[in-house]
Symmetry: C2
Subunit: 337 residues, 2 copies
DNA sequence: CCACAATATTTACGCGTGTAAAAGGGAGGA
DNA sequence: TCCTCCCTTTTACACGCGTAAATATTGTGG
């Protein structure tokens, strides 16, 4: 930058100001600088520019999984909103490992990011690290909220509403549903299960939760759903029931199990097999049968999380009262229920 | 760091060395420092540490899409390999926009990353930017290789082999396949199409490519596959043929179209409908019917790309002879073909 | 106990830029 | 014409740390 400035015939600080905002420099000088820039290819050093700046213009985002289209959708929404606000997004995936998540948080702190957006590992995030992150910089939780961190800004889905909605629908058009859960609990899964139970009781039905014990090596959602229902169907159970799965990936496994037993879940006469999911995974419309589910408004969640973070960064918030934003789920009626 | 060092009673450079590698400091001193660190919470500044270092210990990765499990699988493999090598990964998604991709490349250059791993936008990457990136730092292309950039290190799949394998299989067990392509060409798609045609001719069959014209608003792979086959099936065409789809996401749409027309693709007597894909998308085993496909060895691709980049970073390569590594595809026989 | 080597620490400087304060320059009014 | 005011540019210093060279310390053998 030094050399470039002498070559152009201005002082280095003037060049510096030009790169930050050309309007800070006289039009005449701007023109000279731009002419000089066409001669040499110059890229300002990223680290040097952020070293002595009050704001780095970056936000950190942590997501728990990469191989899950729900989180990639959320991430896309976040990146778009951040880009619109002129922020650089640094994404880190914790790969379902609390240690990696913690390291990502450390990285963000050492980078002086302006704020952090975190979708935590459901059940076993290192909360000490997150609290330290929160105490140091604007911090918004997305998707899943540990019950032990009530005083944190959060953006997610209203699972009471979304699961209640689906439960009510299933009760209305068919047999009262059973709930297919996951053993590796996360807070969302627990909320959905609780919401299911509450809604069932409110409607006067007996709740029935299955899949809470781990079968075989069901590290993956789909495998788990398939394994549980395969066992049930093999004993002739649940073949004429409604089954509400804790999420779409479990439902995908459930549908697969049904197919293997010659069952075709679907909207039909009362007393038929129905399978429903939760989240509106992008591939749901292409399944056989197309999966009936509740859509999470990932787009709204991402946008809101970024805008809330921006408020905090700009100091436009009172500070002591965290904001909890829950978006409603939307019923997606397709073929499977 | 200054304050901390006086508080502990060592000079700042000693502290600096401690953070880089504690073995560079005497055991006695290490202990004193660690004792001091428990008192204060101190995180070294990310930017300052990289500003005057020869190596930043970071590599940049660009992927074209986030909402595609193929790329997230690849990214996961890359991240794992990089982590094992002690590298920090900076991921940027180009969101199928050449301008964003170009900006990501600029960011990497300004960050002085040690190297860059790029999965380009198939057909319309800004090659000038990529060439500039390549001329500035170790650079390895992944997944898709522009025909106009022959002299670049590349790691990907041998589509001649993989597509040839599947084509041969389909010819052997059923009707010679038609090829369901995509209008928004990328280089891999073109290679696969060419490989299909070559293999068909070698086996003495007439190649037949469809789906090269865009129907409706088929921005998405699945939609496209469904739309094309929906139209064909509606006219009673292709209902007893084998159909090789350019990738699994198109195949997912194809299977959906078959279901809508009451057709069940599968391995059966000669003369039945068969649908096959390419890539081994993670959800393939859970489709109805489970999708027969060719697996790309994403794990090997990611690992190899990182190790090759490391070689280049360490200067262990001759430099003038780029290495092209192609991994074979593996047939995944399931139900649909 | 001393000389010498080997290791540990410190001194001194630099990395590439941002920013506040000081200096410069040009337009408008008296 | 001169002076003031405002905008632009420059001067001077800072950001937080890495690193080579210089110095201090420790360990070893005689």
């Amino acid at each position: 930058m030094e050399e470039l400035s002498v070559a152009i015939g201005v002082s280095r600080p003037t060049l510096s100001r030009f790169f930050q905002d050309p309007t800070l420099v006289k039009a005449n000088t701007v023109e000279r600088i731009e002419r000089g820039l066409t001669q040499v290819e110059y890229v300002p050093n990223f680290f040097a520019t952020r070293l002595n700046r009050k704001s780095t213009g970056m936000i950190g985002v942590i997501i728990p999984y990469l191989n899950d289209l729900f989180f990639t959708k959320l991430l896309q929404s976040v990146e778009e909103a951040a880009m619109r606000a002129g922020l650089t997004v640094i994404t880190q995936c914790s790969h379902s490992d609390p240690a990696i998540e913690a390291r990502a948080a450390e990285t963000f702190m050492s980078m002086n990011v302006d704020g952090a957006l975190v979708a935590p590992l459901g059940d076993h995030s290192d909360q000490a690290v997150q609290l330290r992150l929160k105490s140091r910089l604007p911090f918004v939780l997305m998707d899943s909220r540990p019950t032990t961190m009530p005083n944190v800004d959060f953006v997610g889905t209203n699972h009471i509403q979304s699961t209640g909605l689906m439960t009510e629908y299933l009760c209305r058009v068919g047999e009262p549903p059973a709930f297919l859960a996951m053993p590796r609990v996360n807070f969302n899964a627990l909320e959905r299960e609780a919401a299911y139970i509450a809604q069932m009781e409110k409607l006067g039905f007996e709740p029935e939760v299955l899949g809470t014990e781990s079968v075989s090596d069901s590290a993956h959602f789909e495998e788990h759903g398939e394994a549980i229902l395969d066992a049930e169907f093999a004993h002739g159970r649940l073949t004429d029931r409604s089954i509400l799965c804790v999420n779409d990936r479990v439902a995908i496994g459930a549908i697969r199990a049904a197919a293997r037993h010659g069952l075709t879940p679907g909207r039909g006469a009362k007393g038929g097999l129905r399978i429903a999911g939760h989240d509106d995974y992008p591939l749901c419309p292409y399944l056989n049968p197309a999966l009936t589910t509740v859509a999470q408004n990932t787009d709204a969640i991402g946008k809101k999380a970024v805008s809330r973070l921006l408020q905090m960064i700009r100091g436009e918030v009172s500070g002591d009262t965290p904001e909890i934003t829950l978006f409603d789920g939307e019923l997606k009626l397709r073929e499977s229920a």
